[in-house]
Structure formats: structure tokens, C-alpha cells
Assembly symmetry: C3
Homo-oligomer: 351 residues x 3
């Protein structure tokens, strides 16, 4: 038996199989500084202990996406080392806050398999749960990836596809502290749940150019070892011709850009679905706009939820895009991300 882990192929997965991913990670202030430096994120709850304490936390909780990357990165070596493409996400939630000092780990169950008719690959559907050191759930997600087959023409004809909720149901109980009046001079935003309207569109003005060191530092920090992100020599002989940016980094950049207009929406409740519409490479400049898809009242009177669609575009101002897809339903070539997600935002206590 070889000592080298070459990753799993389509045939290696069985429905119901459970995988405990190695490499538990203790999260530190160093990781948090990296996240700010790599994305320019300005959501204040994640930058200031003083503000976090005013908002009911013992100290600043981690940005949900930083926790996502550090936890999710562990699954790459078992699930997607031989992935052709990360096809989608669904039902992603963030049940408990994570703090510096916490140690996170990930477990995965295989929930679906579909062999492709070309005989060369198949789609693997997984359900992953991230835990902290106290066995509390901190991440819950489903995703599906296209993976190479080992034996290209031996057909199993397996086709067992799970169904996913289009949007994650909103729980009765949401695990964030009771919000009193928000210090808008600290958060930088004066808009609350009441101020947003369904159909409203926010063209975020900032653009961020990403360089090779940025995206590779990010992905290495997350101990995500998918070769396509790091190995320029190998990528030169592929149609891409260069290293491909980790899609999660694009999500983080888009979220950071969305700060301008959504300053008080400091918590992600769920990611309902996400598509990496086109690849992103070093030197691309990312812009984004957000549409308010839905306003969701909660039984708590201090918060509400906004279902959002954030579209990220490369090397083109986002306001030039009215619809990210063309008449045939195909993504425009500059669109790199189409993200349907739900955020938590306080209600206006002054009123």
C-alpha cells in the first residue's frame, strides 16, 4: 500500500460512508488578521472586542466565512483532491459562533452519487458538519463535486441524487445574543431590517484586485491542498494556463465588498445556493452587487433576516450587469459568483 494519499476517486465513495477529516485547527488572532488583510473585510463585530461585548458576546466572534474556510479546508484531501469542479452548495448554516482559541474539525457523510454518462467521472454529494472542541456544531453544509473515476469505462450506473431545500428554513431559535440599540457610529451603517425593500439593488462601489500571493496565502492558511490553486507549473499545461483561485476566496471578497450598503448585516444565517459561474485568476478585479430577494420576519423582535443575492463580476463594474445570465440562461463571461444567502440584521430600536 502506498503511503502517499492520492485522494479518493468516484468509485471510492459509498452512500452512507462517514469520513472524519484530519487536521483539527485551533483558530488564532493570526488567522483573523490574515482574513482582514486578505479580504479587506470591515464588518465591525469581527474587528472589535469592545463592540462585540456591547453586542452581547464575550469577545469578537469569528467572521462566519473565515470559520467556514478553516473548517471546510479539511475536507479537500478526502473529498475533492481529484475534483474536476466544485458544482454547488446548499443548506449551509452556522449554528454557533466561533471564537479565537476554539479548535474546529469536520466530519462528512456521503449522501448521493451519480455516475456521468461519459464514463469518466461522477458527482459526489456530501453532508459535512463542523464541530468545535465542545462538540457543538459550528458549520453544517451540503455540497456536490464532480470527481474523476479511477476506471474510466467500467460503468456502475449509480444514480442516487439527494434533494436539497432551495433555501434553508429559518429556525425558531437563532443563536445570537439579544440585540439592544446598535452603535451605528461603530458599525458604520445606519440601515436596519426595516430600511431594506424586496427588489432593492445595491451596487457596491469598491473593487478589489487579487494577486497571486493573496489567493495562495489564503488557501494555504486554510490548509486546503487542492493542487489547482498552488501548482502553477502543472496548471500551465492545462487549458486554464495558470493557477485557479479558490472559489471560497471569491465569496469572501464579494462579502467584504458588500459591506458598503449592508454594514449592519454582520451575521450570515445560511448559504442557500452558490455557483462559481466562471473561474477567477490572479490580477482579476472583483466587483459586486446585491439584490434583496426576501425579507423574513422572526419571532424575535430585535432581528430580522434578509435573503440576498450577491453577484460578483470580474473586470467590469457591477452596475453594468442587469442580469448575470444571458437569454439562454448561461452566465455572462465576466460573472464569477452568484450567491443566494440569508443574513441576520438588527431591527431599529430607536423607532
Amino acid at each position: 500500500m502506498s503511503k502517499i494519499n492520492l485522494g479518493n476517486f468516484f468509485e471510492d465513495f459509498k452512500i452512507g460512508q462517514k469520513i472524519i477529516h484530519p487536521l483539527p485547527r485551533t483558530i488564532t488572532d493570526g488567522d483573523v488578521s490574515f482574513y482582514i488583510a486578505l479580504t479587506g473585510s470591515r464588518f465591525a463585530l469581527h474587528s472589535s472586542d469592545v463592540l462585540a461585548q456591547k453586542m452581547g458576546y464575550k469577545k469578537k466572534p469569528l467572521d462566519d466565512l473565515l470559520m467556514f474556510h478553516l473548517t471546510f479546508g479539511k475536507s479537500v484531501q478526502d473529498i475533492s483532491l481529484n475534483a474536476i469542479a466544485n458544482l454547488g452548495y446548499a443548506e449551509v448554516s452556522f449554528p454557533n459562533p466561533v471564537f479565537v482559541g476554539d479548535t474546529v474539525r469536520l466530519e462528512t457523510e456521503i449522501i448521493g452519487l451519480k455516475e456521468n454518462s461519459n464514463g469518466k467521472s461522477g458527482v459526489v454529494y456530501v453532508h459535512s458538519i463542523g464541530y468545535n472542541q465542545d462538540e457543538q456544531e459550528v458549520l453544517n453544509l451540503k455540497r456536490w463535486v464532480m470527481v474523476h473515476k479511477k476506471n474510466k469505462n467500467e460503468m456502475s450506473n449509480i444514480k442516487d441524487i439527494p434533494t436539497f431545500e432551495k433555501t434553508l428554513a429559518v429556525e425558531k431559535s437563532i443563536n445570537i445574543p439579544k440585540q439592544k440599540e446598535i452603535d451605528t457610529l461603530a458599525t458604520g451603517g445606519k440601515f436596519f431590517f426595516e430600511d431594506y425593500e424586496v427588489g432593492e439593488r445595491l451596487n457596491h462601489p469598491e473593487g478589489i484586485t487579487i494577486d497571486d500571493s493573496d489567493h495562495t496565502l489564503a488557501t494555504k492558511l486554510y490548509q486546503n491542498n487542492a493542487k489547482v490553486h498552488f501548482d502553477d507549473f502543472m496548471m500551465k499545461s492545462t487549458p486554464m494556463g495558470q493557477r485557479l483561485m479558490y472559489g471560497g476566496h471569491v465569496i469572501s471578497i464579494a462579502r467584504a465588498i458588500s459591506f458598503n450598503g449592508l454594514q449592519n448585516a454582520q451575521w450570515i444565517y445560511s448559504i442557500n445556493s452558490g455557483a462559481h459561474a466562471n473561474p477567477t485568476y490572479a490580477k482579476d478585479t472583483i466587483y459586486a452587487y446585491t439584490e434583496i430577494l426576501e425579507k423574513i420576519n422572526h419571532e424575535r423582535d430585535d432581528i430580522g433576516l434578509l435573503r440576498l443575492r450577491t453577484v460578483a463580476v470580474k473586470n467590469q463594474k457591477s452596475e453594468e450587469i442587469s442580469n448575470p445570465k444571458d437569454e439562454d440562461g448561461k452566465y455572462l463571461k465576466n460573472v464569477v459568483l452568484d450567491l443566494d444567502y440569508t443574513v441576520i440584521i438588527p431591527k431599529n430600536k430607536k423607532k
Copy 2:
């Protein structure tokens, strides 16, 4: 009302107006590691808790410039998002030390306005004060920036220009611990206040090349969101043709380079004036020299002050520059920084 903050224009400012900048920031060890990695700074007081304790601190205090960037960065979104140029600094002081764990924030008062005769822009003069979580002043600065007007040809003819001290007066009481004999084997420098002479010039031998990821990581870490630093796509259509480096990063690089010759000058007392003489871009290599402008005795017998002029030059050895300005008083094209500042340096207790 739009939910997008497009920044303030010249007409939006009024003399006497006070702005509380959002985004208080808790400073961490991650930020300190970034500062060392981004600048190569070697001032020992800021790297070693053991040395800092010998020098009378509870633990290593932050490098003054790192605190400056993390605090100052907050003002960009309110003051200089629509800035054409950062014209100058004056009366910058560092009244109290800052430590990892402290949370800093910034407030600004508008102290002067001058409309430009071209009708397109004006100069805004501001006085900003940074505070820690205990409301102690940690930064006090004045600066002036040229800002776009909203309505190009409506003239207000406002011209109310404050006066600035050419150098900041030295206080009777300086807030650093009483210095005993300095461990020169730890600080790396054997020269003290007594050893420097007015007119002396130090040609610092090191040069540091800055890449795109370096300066954009720095500026994002400081949550400074001025678009000119990040958005390469936008900058390609400007005369600059590329992202402009944050001037503060150039100050930090010059200060780090000045270590070789000024190892014991570990505290900045004030920045008296500063000019970003020419723009700096990725791939430029920065060199620097320092002149001793003035020696200032203090009533404390353990320390003295040196007023310095550090000139940073790009892509040319600093010893080749005898005067950074030509006969017409214009900066030479390779000069990127002309900084007049005062440092605190211990006296030699062995004598």
C-alpha cells in the same frame, strides 16, 4: 436616500464639524506579525516582551506607525474617499503607548477649508484624535487633503486655512518609562543621544522592493478602503495606469530601513511634516537616508530627542541624492518621501 456610502465631497464639510469614524479595532498579535512581515521592521522594543519589560513596559508596546495606520485607516471612508491627493501632515503625536488587546478608534474635527480656484476641488484641513478603550489619547494629528467637489462650477470662495506649528513643541512630561542602562546587545545599536550630531547624515544601506501583494495586504489590514490602492481595473484607465501605493506604507518602509543607524531611537515623538513627493508603485525598491536636524535636550536625564529628516528614494541608492529637491525647489523624480519627525532616544547611562 442611497444606502451606499460614496464618501464626502468638498461641499459636505463644514468648519467645526465633528465626525466619529466607525470601525473600532482591537489590535492583536496577528497585526504585529503582519507589520514585521510587511516592513521588515527590527526595532527590538516592539518585538520582544522580555526586552520591553526590562525597559519598563508590561509587555511590548506597538510600533507607533502600526498604531497610526490601524487608527488612521478609519478616517478614509469619511474624509478621503474622494481625495485627489493627501497633501500633508502636521503636529502628529503619540501621547500614550498602545498594546496588543487595546481597541482604538478615531474622531475628527474639520478645522479648515479652501476652495481651489479651478472650481473642481478644494482642500479640507482636519484634526483627528485617536483613543484607546479607556478614552486615553493615543494619536493626535492634523492633515490636509485635496477633495473633489460635487458641483464643479458653483463657487463658494471659502478660504479658511489654519496655521500649523512647523515642529511639534516638546512636552515637559513624556509618557515613556524611566530608562536605565539600555541592553545594546538586545537593541542592536550602541549609539545614544550623545553620539549624534546636528548635520550628520546616515545613508541606510538596505533597500526593500515592494510587490503588489505587500502593499495591498498592508492597506487592507488597516481597513483603509481608498480605491486607488486596490482597484487595478479602475486605475488602468487613469494616468497612473496601476494601483498607487498607500503613502503610509512608504513611511513605514523608510522607518524600517532607518533602523540601521538609529537602532536605539525606538519611539517616535512626533511627525512634524511629511510630503509624499512622488507616487510609489509595486516593484519599486525603496532606499532612505536620514539627516539629524536638531538635538533637543529634555529635563529628564535618561532621554533626549532627535529631530530627523528621512528622505526615501525609489530605484536609486540614497547616497546618490545630496538634496531631494532641484534648483527650483521641486522634488527630484525618484524621491518619494520627505519626512520631518522627532524621535526619542536614551542617553548613555554607562558614561
Copy 3:
């Protein structure tokens, strides 16, 4: 006397001379995050406090190589600022673990000198010891560097060359906690001391491309101020034509790549010898393979040692290299590192 440290030249060194290097460094979580982001290292003991505690530590100890770089970096300004080449290492050991919060420093004794017959340079042999704040040894190493002479044609004919052990002797007592059953679901590897065979070769599949910002951030983080790594303007006028990567960064990248196949070998016992066979530059992609040279039983029944040879190759898959040297004993042009070192690996307690 000039206040500028221009480094020592060959004539400045005397056998028996002792140098206390300045700049003690308190190691932080920021440094650890940087190391992971810069190298992609995945050895679990250094990432998880929970796992480290299961393995008998109070918290995660530092990766041996990160401690090496942070401690060793201090010697550059005194030993190798005028170095032409770092010729070799021997007898490098890691006597005690280092943790975040520890402060490390370095002392060096000159143990040999050999003038080159060309009259222009000489070889300086040094023995350096790193200490933590409690005066415990954390690093012990010998190395030799070729250094410029000040006076090119004045010959001293000095030739006093120390002898080095080919491999460091294994101590009776090894300072790591007693290892119980290893949690292979956390470390990511199921192979133990018993599973490896002398002569076995592991072709590590990952490749990592290094960019300018990566290697200069690393070297600046270590406060290693050798100009060849930072000053692109100066290097453009040398035969190299660009900045040279710090050899230590290549060692760290090779070690990080070797994780895949050596997951449980989480401690370096010694570096027996190391050659930087060819220079590495930005944009090079590093691959590596490892041969098991020797299996060393220890009187402790929980651990054994593996003497390894890891060869790093640039821009060529490591499996294409059967011997890193050609018939004349000269390194192939793509080989960048030939490292002989000994690691500690647990025995299989399940058997």
C-alpha cells in the same frame, strides 16, 4: 566610527570569538499563522491545541523550522550580511520545544576560518546556540558561509577547518512527551515507525509555486536582513538578475510538501547536512521526494527515528529525478535542495 552596520568581512572574524546577536523575539500566534499561510504546512501537532494536549504538551509547540527561522534570522546581520553563499549546515538540533509566548535569542562562536586562494574571500565556520527566555537551548547548529574579504589581496593564509559529524548522534534522552496511541484521524496519517523501510522512496505529489511576496514576507517576518532577498533593484545588476529566495524558505516548503507520506513524523530531531543545490526564484514551483536512509531504534518504546533525505526540485516533477546528481557528482540544474535530516515518529501502539 560610522553608525551604519555594514556587516562583518572575513578579516573581522577570529577563532574563538563570541557574538551575542541582537533582536530577541517573542513568538506569537501571528507568526504561526504566517508560517501556515506561507508554506501550507499541515503537520497537525503544530495546528491544534486539542491534539497537542492529547500528545502530552501544554499547548501546540512551534514547528521546528519556524523556530529555526525566527532564531537563526538574528545571525544574518553579524555573520552573513556580506556572504557570497551559505555553504552548508551540520549538527543542527532542536533540544527543547518552543511555544507561543516564548522569547528566543541567538549566540554564536566562530569555530573555523579558511581563506580562499583567490584572495577575495574566505569561509567562516560558526557554532550558534538559540535560547529561550529561561536560558534553555532551543536550537544548536553549525554552518559555514563564504564571506567577502575587506582587503582583497592581503593574504593571511589562515586555514583552520573544524570537523563535523556526518549525522548527529542520537541522545539517550529525547525531550518529547511519552506518546500513547496516536489519533491518526487527527494527524491524517496511518503510518508509524514500523511501516517505513530503508531504501523506500516517497514521491510527494503536491507542488507549490512561490511568488515574490511570499518569500519576501517570510524573510522579513524572520527579520533576516540579507539584501539579496529584498533588493530587486540591486539584484538586477547581478548575474542572478532578480531577488534570490531565502534557502530556509525552500527547506520549509519541502518539509510542508513531505507531509503527504510522513504525516506522523511531526518532530525534526536533527538536520545532518543540507545543500542549496541551485538558487530558487519567484514563480518557481517546488516539488519534493523523500528517501528513507536509516531507521534508528531508540531505547524509548514509544518512538523511533527515521533518517531521511528530502530532495526538492523546481519546475519538474520529483518522480522524474532518480538521482539528484549527474555522473560527475554535480547537482542537476533543477535540483534546489538536498537535505539529510532525522525525524522522530511514534511507534504503532495498536499492535
